[in-house]
Symmetry: C2
């Protein structure tokens, strides 16, 4: 498999974790987003949206990190990233989507650029925006993780799931802009737990071939 | 089943379509988002995130529209909203996530309020923002839908899927702020096709009990 990504892309980071947890070997093709490598014609021919990650797998071109990870889950069921019970699967997917739909899209490079270039905001305003949406999402996640009995060593039980695959990269992003993590003890505990696993640690931005 | 929603919420709209397509009967509990009914203590007790939709189903409380719809797909497999083949499922989920992760989160009520209140932007700037992200996402969707052989009467083949369930509410949102839909003929064709089905038409905001 060939994973087109970028070391700092947290959606790419999710797919790296999932591939590592599944034990699937993959070749990395880095695209330097800050140099607009994802707008190059050959990359747009692969993915008209011009986003990473893109996974070339089984003769197909897969886009969108959650769709890619659901594919990996169906193709390589062991170890599972979703529980067997439909209601439990719904909880794990919901936790993942709080990150993937309600936090991360607001903090993408293209959005930060729009705030700076089209709307003329300074770095302080952009950082406040960035942290505002993470904090709001983390408040919801912390409330759910701290109060619901399904939470274990990880977001759902004692093994990593799709929820952790999405949460850990978002915590790394939060650290980049020095978000105060004190109000989120359960998230911090799970973060530490996850980074003790090589599948997560090896997927960290700093450990990628294109890290600067 | 009890669906907590709001007639104008496009994530609630998605779940209404899915329930209608599956032929599952449900009671609607409207929460007036513009009057902040979703911040009321009893609603926050149900969903700490304070968002709609929330589906009370099978003794559980489900949140996040895509997680809810995946649950409905597992619980009521017929008619399917995802194809059987894993690579095809990945395509449908990716199309859905272009809407659910890359367009809609930027155009939520809370984001528009932040642009107006915290950042002090006027209505023209907010509408330009709104349409910018829809147009960018629709360009990617149009390119994929127009060029890929899997597209049929609907986004994937000749029956509605999760991709259409996400796309149709986004087109309704685009119409609200008069986005020029001329560059998106395939999306327009699928939109017309979908609204010919009662499952989509009955789910329109204007047809909900709380519509104003």
């Amino acid at each position: 498999m060939r994973l087109h990504g970028y070391y700092r892309s947290s959606a790419s980071f999710r797919v790296r974790i999932a591939l590592n947890l599944k034990g699937v070997s993959y070749e990395q093709i880095p695209h330097h987003l800050r140099k607009d490598a994802h707008r190059a014609p050959d990359f747009l021919a692969l993915n008209p949206q011009g986003f990473v990650p893109v996974l070339e797998a089984d003769g197909a071109v897969l886009i969108q990190s959650l769709a890619i990870i659901e594919y990996l889950e169906e193709r390589f069921p062991d170890p599972p990233l979703l529980p067997a019970d439909p209601l439990e699967r719904a909880r794990v997917r919901a936790l993942a989507e709080i990150v993937a739909c309600d936090i991360h899209p607001l903090n993408n490079l293209r959005v930060l650029r729009y705030l700076r270039n089209e709307l003329g905001h300074d770095q302080t305003t952009v950082e406040k925006w960035y942290n505002h949406w993470i904090a709001e999402g983390f408040q919801a996640l912390e409330a759910m993780l701290a109060s619901q009995p399904q939470t274990g060593r990880f977001c759902h039980g004692d093994t990593p799931s799709l929820a952790d695959v999405c949460l850990i990269p978002q915590v790394v992003n939060a650290q980049n802009f020095q978000l105060d993590m004190a109000p989120f003890p359960t998230i911090r505990r799970i973060f530490t737990e996850a980074l003790n696993l090589p599948a997560f640690a090896r997927a960290l931005p700093a450990n990628q071939p294109d890290a600067e």
